[in-house]
Symmetry: C2
Subunit: 374 residues, 2 copies
Amino acid sequence: MRVLVVGTGLIGTSVALALRASGAGVWLSDRDEATAKLAADLGAGTVVPDLRDAKGIADIAVLAGPPGVIAPTLALSQEYGVAEFYTDVASVKVLPVRQARELGCDLSSYVPGHPLAGRERHGPAAARADLFLGRTWALCPLPETSPDAVAAVTSMVLACAADPVTTDPGTHDRWVALISHAPHVVAAAMAARLAPDSVPADALKLAGQGLRDVTRVAAGDSALWTQILSANAGPVAEVVAAVADDLAAAARALGVSAALLARGDDPPEPPEMSGSLPDVTGLLDRGRAGVARIPGKHGGQPRNFTVVQVVIADQPGELARLFNAAGAAGVNIEDVRIEHSPGLPLGVAELSVRPDQAPVLLDAMEAGGWPVRR
Amino acid sequence: MRVLVVGTGLIGTSVALALRASGAGVWLSDRDEATAKLAADLGAGTVVPDLRDAKGIADIAVLAGPPGVIAPTLALSQEYGVAEFYTDVASVKVLPVRQARELGCDLSSYVPGHPLAGRERHGPAAARADLFLGRTWALCPLPETSPDAVAAVTSMVLACAADPVTTDPGTHDRWVALISHAPHVVAAAMAARLAPDSVPADALKLAGQGLRDVTRVAAGDSALWTQILSANAGPVAEVVAAVADDLAAAARALGVSAALLARGDDPPEPPEMSGSLPDVTGLLDRGRAGVARIPGKHGGQPRNFTVVQVVIADQPGELARLFNAAGAAGVNIEDVRIEHSPGLPLGVAELSVRPDQAPVLLDAMEAGGWPVRR
């Protein structure tokens, strides 16, 4: 397979590295020459100085840029005839497809795509050959797209060790609005409440893993995320508005409850009390149901693991000792999370294992001298 | 130290177990006799069948129940004279303190408290002696509270291996609204968007760690959380309303952008585009600033770790081999997260280490045969 990567940022260079690792011939192009050279130095492929001289160089051209530059780049690449088939990796699909149509691009050779992978760093230096390993890679063939183009791009996705999922551009954009773009805005809105003018640092000493998890993604780059959100504005606006409505309703219900409290009326005892805040309980119930639908590891049953908690000393070798004991007992640890211990050189490791392996793990922990509660 | 725990649920029984481990004498009481007996069977202490017969039994009585029952229990316990000093562990403080005042309780012997620890399970069977290890434990002495009471309760908190932080009830409630209660509502509102009627299961196959993190806490018990939110309704309403306002403004800005897109006006190119959604970029910027203020492990510099990513096979012993290699190289892994790999028996372990230890870890990984990108 011969592939031309146009745009050697994080995603483009990672695609190039993954394909090189699979034995493909890879050519690189970037409007910033130094960026393309850096990618080449990292072993991602051979730089093509000018696309005008690259006629027929590749089977597939991968257009790796922000949503707004995909269609113009596709038009130019097809004009120069650099490849037989074309795909892109932008995180929204309706906008580039519409623009490609308007620019009169050949859609029979074009398979819009989007690998669901990324990092909080950018540029070719952050690229990884294994970035797409086991990740979903959405492909959105158009009515005009030829079966040969779909087959070729699907092979390329599989060569990157990703899991291709086929849908259409509109559905794709609504899905990523829901599972990625809107959650980013929601996390940012919660994190924005932690600003210095409203919260002393002491308050944040009380923060646990819950707050860290809810706000983590909000650490991403604001300018880049504004571009992504802008290019998928409609679907994101719809989800964010619905979340805002639910939160406003919850705040109103809590406000009524607070006013009763301030008047000296105690909140009614449970279970009556739950009934007095139906908006809030209802929202929490819907939230529980939503969380339960997120698939777990390997696309299997969601959260179908038992969590075993073990106290560990915060020193080199301690985790190794723990995992050795688990491995020696034949237990496969599906996931691990370390709970932070502010102020103490100790932590709690939470090990997720299949329910039938939990007793085996507990035996192994106990035999190894770790304090265990069953 | 002699301690009487009134209410042997998860928190009360964990306090009892922690104090027993430190050598204290512990007595147990619960209005449900079977619950108290189960705690006793777990080694948490000795059951006191009737508080009326428990005069002078303890130095400190720990009242472990939901916010609404703290004050009545305090009044009764003081009437029976079961202890010299009193504290509680409810997750809100203004409500029980106001009720204690109204009931004419002796406030000189009472130190309102709240350990910042918990689990997603409930009841004495889920209790752990190490539940408070390294966790913050808020103490909110009142103007009437005697120094002796504060000293005694502080000693007890230290005996539980927790980190006492002193504040006042109103400040405490505003802080936990911000770092725990409001994030729970926000996570639930996002997770509620994932309901079956609006999202097919296929869409959730695209979900990454970001969505899992943002929504994780929303898996908690709805009835319990409604009680907590109701008892701290004012401060929670304030934070949730502010988040709702920010999200509504972001949705409006995105809606305007979407209308322009639908009219066929392309979004302006960056950097101008960022300027076209100032509400959104501003919110994302404030979110980034907020996330950066959350303290990291050991209360140190937030997020001052380098993340090293390593591809691992999903089989027993693989993590052990990885941590052995790190331990042998003298590298202390501060945190670890395993990225899920839907559909493939492989994963990516993200190891957080001190920046100066990252090159050492990378050398060790490379020597151990793991694929490493620098």
